[in-house]
């Protein structure tokens, strides 16, 4: 009795699956179109993500160049915008292929078993990357792991699974994408029911809504439509958003102390020591540079400061001598309390220790008495409340 009930249920699931698979929404052509779009988005996110990783974990053989100045602003803005756009695409794709999850028998051979096994990291990894990415740019951290490390390594796992998936599905997808090919639906949708164009149109509409309401955090043209981005680049102290405040960094007393000195130390001929007013007097160079956050928002601003290269010359160091500089913050702890300038960045005249922002003295939350601002750098590497430059020879 019980067994026949189970058999009935299974038969019903099989019938529902077969009926669904005959609809254009669930056929190979729809799945292939969405698959190609997803593949492009994943590639964009992976490459821009690699670049962001390289910024934060520099390697000697591939130094990050300081030009073009807005490169990171573009790549990271693209990373986050593409990630948002991928959410409806991925949900559309998973919905399209969902009936295939109930395929019976589940596998028909060793190769098929391996192929389906690789779907586990692909689906879990894809959903995880988008979920964790959206949560991160919403500044919400419900987990215990360190987001950049987990997001980065899961991206490798997911891309690996994606390569295997492409190998398994390329022929099927190619056939399905050929007009009149194998992807043509077994039955056309009844009038008033959802066809392929309708389904893809709604996915595209969702992509559009999600993109337009968030991308204003990086694209000034879309700023008036910014409804759900974590930042609007014109809202913040001195017209620029703040990521970490002086209170959070625990530097309020040290940064305001009249005994503050900026020191240039390490492999120098003569150590340099400057007060906040010395710095202000020396700060004659102005540059228009963006703050480009890893979380996707960016804001352009006018900075006034002292070129790091000038401070090195003051310390008897030739900036063209292949040196690197470690920029130390007053902040006592935290992963981003210091950053490194490679030999190319050190030389750039727009790599500044800034003392003024948009025509006014730097606010405490923007890094008073001075902060690093350089072209083509991730926001977390634009070290604030700088008190020491440590020179080393490579």
């Amino acid at each position: 009795m019980k067994r026949s009930l189970v058999a009935d249920r299974l038969r019903a699931v099989a019938a529902a699956r077969d009926e669904a698979l005959r609809r254009p929404v669930h056929d190979a052509r729809t799945a292939s179109i969405l698959g190609v779009c997803l593949g492009v988005c994943f590639l964009v996110c992976f490459l821009t993500g690699l670049f962001s990783h390289l910024q934060q974990h520099p390697v000697g053989w591939l130094p990050i160049p300081p030009r073009p100045a807005s490169l990171y602003r573009i790549t990271q803005g693209l990373h986050v915008a593409t990630g948002f756009a991928t959410v409806p695409l991925l949900l559309g794709k998973l919905w399209s292929v969902y009936p295939r999850l109930f395929r019976w028998p589940p596998v028909t051979g060793a190769a098929h078993a391996i192929e389906r096994l690789m779907l586990v990291p692909l689906v879990c990894g894809s959903v995880f990357l988008l979920f964790s990415g959206v949560a991160n740019v919403s500044r919400w951290y419900p987990w215990r792991f360190y987001f950049p490390a987990a997001h980065y390594w899961v991206a490798w796992i997911t891309i690996g699974a994606l390569v295997a998936h492409i190998g398994a599905k390329a022929a099927v997808a190619r056939a399905a994408l050929v007009r009149g090919g194998a992807g043509a639906p077994a039955v056309a949708p009844a009038p008033g029911r959802l066809g392929r164009r309708g389904f893809l149109g709604v996915v595209a509409l969702a992509v559009g809504v999600v993109t337009v309401t968030t991308a204003g955090q990086a694209l000034p043209a879309l700023r008036p439509l910014t409804l759900f981005a974590q930042r609007r680049p014109d809202i913040g102290t001195q017209g620029v958003p703040v990521n970490r405040s002086a209170v959070q960094a625990g530097v309020v007393d040290l940064a305001g102390d009249p005994g503050y000195r900026l020191r240039v130390t390490g492999a120098v001929s003569r150590p340099v020591e400057l007060t906040a007013s010395d710095l202000d007097r020396l700060a004659r160079r102005e540059a228009e540079l963006p703050i480009a956050c890893v979380e996707g928002w960016s804001a352009s601003a006018r900075w006034r400061g002292v070129p790091v290269a000038d401070l090195l010359i003051e310390a008897g160091v030739d900036p063209d001598d292949g040196i690197t500089v470690r920029v130390e913050s007053l902040q006592a702890t935290g992963r981003y309390r210091a950053s490194e300038l490679n030999h190319l960045q050190v030389r750039d005249p727009d790599t500044l220790l800034a003392v003024a922002l948009n025509g006014a003295q730097l606010d405490l939350d923007h890094g008073y008495p001075c902060r690093l601002i350089g072209p083509n750098r991730a926001g977390v590497l634009q070290t604030k409340w700088v008190h020491e430059l440590v020179v080393s020879r490579t």
């Binding site: 098929h112 690996g160 809504v209 703040v242």
Partner: protein
């Protein structure tokens, strides 16, 4: 249980499949090794929980919920069924994706420039627009169906 003819299972084979499989497994293996090497940061047990949870959340919650929603709306008039289903899907998607900013879990008192907007109000505005569009689509389809019916008579 047999597949419908249009989706006959095809066993993957050929040099392209095996090359991609080996390359992909290598790339994924590099990711696994990296995650393990940085286990102080990646917290493997926690990561596995969220990774597996992501897959399970989709396959066992989100997709079945969509099936249930489709079944629950099957008795709606034909002209309303499709627009309501799509409007519902879009509304749920936008609400879930933007729920963390609507709740503003990431706000901190010393950083007023983070999450500075009225996200709840913005979500209501967008959802109202979605359902106005759904209403318009239902009306258009109803009018068209009546015209068709009259022409057939």
């Amino acid at each position: 249980m047999s597949e419908p003819t249009g989706a006959a299972p095809r066993n993957p084979s050929g040099p392209f499949f095996w090359t991609c499989l080996i390359t992909g497994a290598g790339i994924a293996g590099y990711g696994l090794a990296g995650a393990w090497a940085e286990r102080a940061d990646t917290h493997p047990a926690d990561l596995v929980f969220w990774l597996a949870g992501s897959g399970v959340a989709h396959d066992a919650l989100v997709a079945p919920a969509a099936v249930v929603a489709a079944l629950a709306t099957r008795r709606l008039p034909v002209s309303a069924r499709l627009p309501v289903r799509l409007g519902f899907a879009l509304s749920v998607l936008l609400t879930v994706v933007f729920w963390p900013v609507v709740q503003a879990w990431g706000r901190s008192p010393s950083v007023p420039s983070a999450l500075p907007l009225g996200y709840g109000r913005n979500l209501v505005v967008v959802l109202v627009c979605v359902w106005v569009a759904v209403g318009a689509a239902v009306m258009m389809r109803a009018v068209r169906a009546r015209r068709r019916g009259r022409a057939a008579r």
